[in-house]
Amino acid sequence: MIVLEKRPQPSRFWSYATPVAAVLATMVFGGLLFAALGKNPAVAIGTIFWDPLFGEFAFYYRPQILVKGAPLVLIAIGLSLGFRAGIWNIGAEGQYIMGAIAGAGVGLAFYPLEAWYIFPLMVLGGALGGWAWAMIPAVLKVRFGTNEILVSLMLVYVAEQLLASMSLGLMRNPEGHGFPGSRNLQQYESAHNGELIAGSGMHWGVAAAFIAVIFAYVLLNRHMLGFHIRLTGEAPRAARFAGVRPSRLILFCLGVSGALAGLAGLFEVAGPAGQITIDFNIGYGFTAIIVAFLGRLHPVGILLAGGLMALTYIGGEIAQGNLGLPAAAIQVFQGMLLFFLLALDILTNYRIRPRKSEVA
């Protein structure tokens, strides 16, 4: 028999080693899964992890990892600030949608004018849209003590309905033959969030994600506000004695995460997605919650976690296309990765010991 024994201090070694161990465990068990489906496990695993980075067409996939990872990192960074302080914004998906709607709305309002100031205004609109949507749960919580988890989550569905309405009504492309969906911003030079360097995948959203990582790092480690955030999460009573004002912190954390999610939505709609459509949102706001925890709510960790998630998405698509693996198998594979990460996390705080033999 074995027992779990709590460590006096979280293990430094395991906090770095568990992500690696989780990836290895996923490879083993994922490999078994693929073998059970009649595919060569080594080839399948190689396709998922190797091909996007170093395969024949890596010149195309590497930039795509940035494109896929940027919104995840940008949103997760914002969420992690609140999560550290025990403020749970679960509605980033809705803020992402509202940012896209507001930002695209600014751009479409100027159509067909070409001017340098349109895109910066759209960025502002996107951030404001997301911020405003996050302010609803924030103000309700501060003013009436409502639960921000429920309010922010429910507002996702409101935002989805608004998105459908925009695609079918106000923002519908007048030249779209009655089909839903706005004009394609990729074809509107002044509003297009194109690649900054051709073929690199770097668009403004990717740049914003890197900037957000740096800012979050500085904020948490070098700034009084960051200290207050950490303190509130780790020792709420001590935080009160230290003079932290909870309502200001709530407004700040929800506001920042909303604005970042809104920015992610704007960069996506003006870039890779191109249009406001009914199906514009594909779950970045929810996946970002996973990314935030996968990265242990640490800015650099989130950057790595976002990259890893993006890699499995891209690699998973390649495996589907090349090997004929079903989409569901890829999702199981991604699920395994998260499961093992969380499961092995226990090694950080506990150690496994053989139980001393006892008299029965």
């Binding site: 033959h177 009655g178 690649e195 009914i278 514009f280 390649i318 296309g321 079903p326 989409a327």
Partner: protein, 356 residues
């Protein structure tokens, strides 16, 4: 701002390379919006893919990607297929339109076919089926069979294709039963069994005893079976497991002949871009076996099917007014394809509004 020049040049090199490889095997790709096991729309497209494999044997290699979201991810999925040397790629849902256009521009040597869209290029053709012809047959059955005079309809998205289906069904049902009323629920998804089941339950609670669907899963039939005494129709696929009731007939998309023909043309080097719209007459739309209905209703439905096939009956023949009462088609007029393709209004008699 600019397409990636690197990608374009690489694509051209690869395009040449894949052209050379094409001499031994033609590679055909399919992009699906749902899972191949949806039992409906995507399932039928995949049956078409399998028919291509069977028909050409070793001369062809097919690849597919299922459950591709309509948006930025679709562009990558299509690009990936083109990079891997596909000669012909079918993108089988409306939402893949702009991504397909974008990828087609980057890969001039690859042929693309987009289902149900309207944007074409030299290497991008469009194709669709006249599903609304099948709706006329279903509407006739619905009008005859309803006792509550309430017919429920689950729509996916308020796009012309779906609105066309609702109008065709309503006109046919009203013709045989002037008292019918339609309740329409929009699911905002092509495939989501839970949402579709919820929609079906809501319609049943509103008193509907006939349910039609323009979504792809069998969930509405399952809900109807539980409720009892309700009839449904197979959508896109026969959904034969719900025979003889609740499913009493179906509209089947038969893509196989078209896919085989287009692959053959790529092999022969005679492929050309264009727009193909097939109906009951050409066999692209089939009416599934009619089961569990009284003899006279079955006969009537079959007669309507045959009249549409021969061209004697047009589902949209005047006089028809729009919902607001303004005339649309005069006596003796039939709807043009252009009108059908951009239809965004209900015909007179349908309650409610097209969502805006």
């Amino acid at each position: 701002m600019k397409l990636t020049t690197l990608l374009t040049s690489a694509a051209m090199v690869l395009g040449l390379a894949s052209g050379a490889m094409a001499q031994d095997k033609t590679k055909v790709g399919f992009i699906y919006v749902g899972p191949i096991g949806d039992g409906g729309y995507t399932y039928q497209h995949d049956q078409g893919r399998l028919a291509v494999e069977k028909h050409f044997g070793d001369k062809v290699e097919t690849v597919y990607q299922e459950s591709v979201p309509e948006g930025a991810d679709a562009e990558r999925a299509i690009t990936q297929m083109a990079l891997n040397g596909a000669d012909l790629i079918f993108t089988t849902s409306f939402g893949f339109m702009d991504p397909t256009v974008a990828v087609a521009k980057k890969f001039p040597n690859v042929k693309f076919e987009h289902a149900t869209g309207f944007k074409r290029a030299d290497n991008l053709a469009t194709y669709s089926a006249r599903f609304y012809e099948g709706r006329t047959v279903m509407g006739t059955i619905a009008g005859r069979m309803t006792k509550t005079n309430k017919i429920g309809y689950i729509g996916a998205y308020p796009i012309p294709e779906v609105i066309r289906g609702i109008n065709a069904t309503y006109l046919a049902a009203k013709k045989v039963n002037p008292d019918v009323e339609f309740n329409i629920i929009w699911a905002y998804t092509w495939f989501d069994p839970a949402k579709e089941a919820d929609a079906a339950k809501a319609l049943l609670e509103q008193g509907a005893d006939v349910i039609l669907q323009h979504t792809d899963s069998t969930a509405p039939s399952a809900a109807a079976e539980k409720a009892g005494n309700v009839i449904t129709f197979g959508q896109a696929s026969d959904m034969a497991e719900y025979k003889p009731r609740p499913r009493v007939s179906s509209i089947i998309d038969n893509w196989a002949p078209y896919y085989i023909e287009r692959v053959q043309k790529v092999m022969d080097g005679t492929w050309e871009s264009g727009d193909y719209w097939g109906g009951i007459g050409s066999g692209m739309v089939e009416i599934g076996e009619i089961t569990g209905l009284p003899e006279d209703v079955t006969k009537e439905a079959e007669a309507i099917r045959d009249q549409i096939a021969s061209g004697a009956l047009h589902p949209f023949a005047g006089p028809i007014n729009k919902q607001d009462g303004t005339p649309w088609l005069a006596e003796g007029e039939t709807a043009s394809d252009a009108d059908l393709l951009s239809m965004n209004f209900y015909v007179e008699g349908i309650k409610g509004e097209v969502p805006q």
